[in-house]
Subunit: 773 residues, 2 copies
């Protein structure tokens, strides 16, 4: 745990330069706008530790799978998030000396991610080896308003000299992915051009050996201007072209104590959104449009757009700055990563903050991220996350066929970019199939929150039928048990592989069948559409539904009658049942134990049975939850970033306040405090949604009950109060929890009736109620 | 199945050139002598399909592990068998035309592996594009007598021209491994020299990043002579040196219808056997010695040495040439691969016939190969196989420590060269731990065959203690079952991974504990040595043995009382129980099914429960065997080359003659007929020992009973008779099985008493008995 980030309510602040942590800081201070983004790299050359990263949403490369020992069914490629053209470069050379913070004396250094305004600022004084001193101030953002553009203001003030300096303002496309499987570079140059103060570089992803995989073109363009004393100045510029690189060298007269400001505007347009033949022309138009606005107007718009975002989703915590900073940090990065404008996009595990893992979509989206966007964004945002999976249904069916399934059974991939499976560990790829259920659950979750039952007709039912078919083929009849069983799976707890009858997966499978039956009935209210879907999916209602009903009736669930707990899987009680306290010095076990030792131990990576009790809480009493929580939580090592949030929610429900708070602390500042020693690779974007859930569903106790919002809050004793904003259908509510009472503001004109600790409370439009608790 | 190899009792014959199968033929016609060997490549340049391979025993390279997703505990490197200097090269150029069988018209082609004499012959007539015709005859062998040397006779007869030809006689060390993980080459050149008619090339394996791994040097030397009409002729030679290559170019006057013969002698001396500073000098001495003998004497010695080998281990099958050829092919390659002279060497899965898999030692050695060498070779050969594992005990202890074991517990690696684990699939590396029991079993097997109980004192007990400690730590107490259980293993049937309570492994573990207890008692008869071992191993007799006894008493074994069969593992009966007939069009499943489908199916790769009933047959009645065989064999797909032999032995015991013969056919000509479409990669050397066992233990019914040999033979009805030679302690026996009677020749002067179908039969020295049956 590194403790160098200053605690602040709205900002992430590095006070004084910490070169040893620079890659961590770069991750923390990443910027994005849903379409493009990148790490908090310096604009100028830096020869110290750095991981340079710029990314364009939806642009990827099918890197050839790397494998130790091939297994049938492994995918050919792994879709990599592509590290793309670096549009931020502004290098400064003064009388032959390069400004490089690794080779100069740096003082008064301050780097600030301003989350309220969506900007990254940096200021420092630097002394070159020759003794020349300069003051530099930078400000950068990725525009939320113009979401294919970014802008930089770079200010230079010589403190003890005057000279003619050389500035190089560049677009550098000679980029490689750090995690390239076979050391390849992924970009080819298509075209470049440069005039004075303006550059364009179009790159194309290399043609892969897989015909089904498209290539992508990205045109990056930039323009810059120099200002002194608020006035635009003309500079002598020289165009430079190198392989996959285009720049302007600028002769810049620097005068002691006179500030020169360079405004750099950049755009990234991809062939996903524009015809390739127009890319450069569109980039020119786009750039012309934003430079006409100018830096200050763009910045103002950025601040306003973020203000509006925060109004919809801020969480305030009173009395704990670290917790306040942590929760805003999580919300900020979630909003930067996915804006829900485009149903072809999804929420990559590292967003725009790093390239690790590849792929853009995991079950994290459905299980952890969806609730966040449901409550904090327009309905279409969550809906687009669902439509994304509908778009991939055909590929999910093909994916299942590769594994021997038939008749339109669909298995969604573990990791994907375009719907094809990318991951290649058999125990995950082929066996961690509960992901399929999470996709069905997300449809249910979306509809219960939004009441948008129409979604079933439009998209949902087709997906549900594919998923139900998969489960009905994946189970088999056990003559020995006279029950249906599910063999050879990996549950959410990935510290067990290839187990039989994982309770969570069995329960989820049966739930999917039930929900699909319900959905069928609902869609039948529109006979025309129902008939269409039956034809589209070659659905044999009588035969298929009777099989499903049979499975629902006869599924096997492992259970321990003595302890009255569901068993994580067959044979779980044969393990040596220890608790995490017994192995304190062995943690984290994923770094200290060999895989077999982890597997045969009782230790649990993340909620598994408890994940099921979280998803389907209405099916179980609090007593059942308590027994299972008390049995499993003490064995849980929480070595997945997705683990603590579910436990916060359940501990809160069980009134285990200390446990809830302990778990919350683990999730809220995971990246800020670099708990897992891996923040340098990028942030844990999807687990950030879990942190939001911890507050709203955990401490806030928010649920959907009786077709409305319900709250059952508790205030951690470390806090004075906390409040959060949620949108629910026509309404927006501000909910504040104090020690003795709860305040709910209805921010909309429509009245709303909610449940607070089981009591129905009606709040008129634009009114506030206070409820003691 | 390719049917181009001519059926012949003693030879493997390719009649007419089959370039499309050339890589297969190269594998089949590999030559070796335990120290060096190589594939049946042509001497002259060949631009067609070929896999060039020459290997020097004990010389390897630690190729960096390639992995898809790293797991804790994986080894850093994978020890690769090294493709080494090609010493066979003799290139011929006639008036600018190169002799290359891929570019000429070839007729009268015949390639013959003469297994009786241990030689590879080739003859053909070739017409060059210009119309010039030549007749070529070659003969090559790796000398068993001088086991660091090989020799070639290469005869050239122009049929329709005379000219001055150019011959290049070379040593080519610029070799790469086809299976290099990262495309690296593994050899550096140390020195080379050449004079007229003589070349030396010393190569060293590259320094790896692992300090514990030694580098190896190999000096390859060659000398050649030209003969016309039986007379040595002087030729004009020109030395040639290139990187990692040294040769002589020879101007050769060829006269129409006059035969010129080149004798090429080569040696491969490795730093494993000579001080590096003497390598070249030793190579010179060695070469001088063999060239002084001359080709013909070397050939004569080769024939005599092979004759002696065959006298000790031939199997004759009367009435089935294909079966006769098949069994001799297997015996021949086993004898070429391992001679038992050096306890640092072992039996690689491909021997000297290819480089696939890497490593030299698998559990195949103990479970399949040991019985062959026990019966067909001097006692020291089998003993050296055991000592090899004793030599690696320290590393086996370190290997176990890496996986969390302690107190001298030893886990032998799945695949190794120097005692360190090389394989990196968690389900195999960490979980296929039954290999450890096979190493204990081999000690037992060796002692019961040889009566060499002294071995326990010398080496055996230390190894047994390490293995027993491993098992006692690997199991755990199940409170639920009130028994000891073993979780997370992979049994011999690798089509199940990470299962609980694999019956075979549980049984084997308990047997190891029992056998170690017995061994302790035996070694105690030598209190001084016993004390030594106790100190050496820090053995706490009271505590450790009482724990072992407790496990022996309370181990859990999965069993189905209804069917009266042992269960392969917990939950086996939850599977859909099909037979191989139900999935005819799906086979082989390892090519047609994804891994998860294989895992959750009931289908069995190779004997698992049945492997246990084979190892420990005296513990079980024939009825128990029958019930288990009838349950498991129909589910067995035999997709391991090690599978059929165990089933031959058991089917034979159960009187299932057709099944026994069906299984035998699968194993005996596996490579000759290329059943699995992979002979081109090399031969399945270790499974060849299984073929031998099929005949001797299966059809011959040979066992050790009542401290002597016992036979219970049956004659497959497809055969007239068969006979085999076995050595047993002081005796050598020739056993022949006819329809109505058995003949046993006692070839030694010592009388012997054996069991034939439960009757005791005493055979005087040098006598023969006929026993009706």
């Amino acid at each position: 745990m590194k403790n160098y980030i200053v605690h602040d309510e709205w900002c992430i602040i590095e006070e004084g330069f910490h070169p040893e942590y620079n890659e961590i800081t770069e991750s923390l201070m990443s910027l994005g706008n849903g379409r493009m983004g990148g790490r908090g790299n310096f604009e100028e050359k830096y020869s110290g530790k750095t991981l340079q990263g710029n990314y364009v949403a939806g642009v990827w490369f099918p890197d050839k799978t790397r494998v130790g020992w091939w297994k049938n069914g492994y995918p050919n490629y792994f879709a990599k998030v592509l590290n793309a053209c670096n549009w931020t470069g502004i290098d400064l050379e003064i009388d032959g000396e390069t400004l490089d913070l690794a080779r100069c004396e740096v003082s008064e250094f301050r780097r600030v991610l301003n989350m309220q305004e969506g900007t990254l600022e940096r200021s420092f004084v630097v002394k070159l080896p020759s003794g020349k001193s300069l003051k530099i101030n930078t400000l950068r953002f990725c525009s939320l308003k113009d979401d294919e553009a970014g802008a930089i203001s770079y200010s230079i003030t010589p403190l003890n000299f005057s000279t003619q300096a050389k500035l190089t303002v560049s677009l550098d496309g000679d980029i490689s992915n750090k995690d390239s499987n076979h050391g390849e570079k992924f970009w080819n140059e298509i075209s470049k051009e440069t005039t004075h103060g303006e550059c364009y570089l179009t790159l194309e992803t290399k043609k892969s050996k897989w015909d089904s995989v498209p290539t992508f073109q990205v045109c990056t363009g930039m323009k810059f201007e120099c200002f002194k004393g608020g006035e635009s100045v003309d500079c002598q510029t020289m165009p430079i072209k190198k392989d996959k690189y285009v720049a302007n060298e600028v002769k810049l007269s620097l005068k002691q104590n006179e500030e020169t400001v360079i405004y750099k505007y950049a755009v990234n347009l991809s062939s996903e959104n524009y015809p390739v033949e127009n890319l450069t022309a569109e980039a020119k138009n786009y750039l012309a449009r934003i430079t006409a606005k100018g830096f200050n107007q763009m910045l103002e718009e950025q601040i306003l757009t973020w203000k509006a975002k925060w109004e919809g989703n801020d969480i305030q915590i009173d009395g704990d700055v670290a917790a306040q900073q942590g929760i805003r940090f999580n919300i900020f990065h979630l909003q930067q990563t996915y804006t829900g404008e485009d149903s072809r996009l999804n929420i990559g595990p590292k967003g725009f903050t790093g390239e690790k893992y590849g792929g853009s979509t995991y079950w994290d989206t459905e299980a952890y991220c969806l609730p966040f966007y449901l409550s904090t964004s327009e309905q279409k945002v969550a809906r687009n996350l669902l439509v994304y999976r509908h778009n991939h249904l055909k590929r999910a069916i093909e994916n299942a066929e590769k594994l021997g399934f038939s008749n339109g059974a669909a298995l969604y991939p573990m990791v994907t970019m375009n719907g094809e499976e990318c991951h290649n560990e058999w125990e995950i790829t082929f066996e961690e199939i509960h992901r399929n259920g999470a996709i069905a659950y997300a449809i249910y979750d979306y509809i219960r929150y939004t009441n948008d039952e129409n979604y079933l007709q439009e998209y949902g039912l087709e997906v549900l039928i594919g998923i139900a078919r998969f489960w009905s083929q994946r189970i088999n009849w056990s003559s020995a048990q006279q029950k249906y069983v599910m063999l050879g799976v990996t549950g959410p707890n990935e510290y067990e592989n290839n187990v039989n009858n994982n309770w969570y997966t069995n329960y989820l499978a049966v739930w999917c069948l039930k929900y699909t039956l319900e959905a069928l009935e609902k869609v039948k209210s529109n006979p025309f559409r129902y008939e269409q879907i039956v034809n589209l999916t070659s659905f044999d209602e009588t035969a298929e539904t009777s099989k499903w009903k049979n499975i629902i009736k006869n599924m096997y669930f492992p259970y321990d009658a003595e302890r009255e707990v569901f068993l994580q899987q067959d044979g779980f009680l044969d393990k040596e049942l220890l608790t995490v306290h017994d192995i304190a010095e062995h943690r984290p076990i994923n770094q200290k134990w060999s895989w077999d030792r982890i597997l045969r131990s009782c230790f649990i990576k993340q909620a598994d049975v408890l994940q099921g009790l979280y998803f389907f809480e209405d099916d179980f009493s609090v007593d059942v939850l308590r027994k299972n929580f008390d049995f499993y939580e003490p064995m849980t090592v929480h070595e997945s970033s997705l683990s603590p949030c579910v436990h916060v929610i359940q501990a809160a429900k069980l009134g285990k306040k200390d446990k809830a708070y302990e778990m919350y602390v683990r999730t809220a500042r995971l990246d800020l405090d670099d708990y897992n020693n891996d923040t340098e690779d990028g942030l844990h974007i999807t687990s950030m949604a879990g942190t939001w859930m911890s507050v709203v569903k955990g401490f806030g106790g928010m649920r959907i009950k009786e077709n409305t919002l319900a709250f059952s809050p508790f205030l951690p004793e470390q806090w004075q109060s906390f409040s959060f904003r949620v949108g629910f259908r026509q309404n927006a509510l501000q909910v504040a929890i104090f020690h003795d009472y709860i305040t709910i503001d209805n921010l909309s004109e429509t009245p709303i009736s909610v449940l607070v600790e089981a009591d129905r409370v009606t709040i008129k439009g634009l009114e506030t109620v206070n409820i003691p608790h």
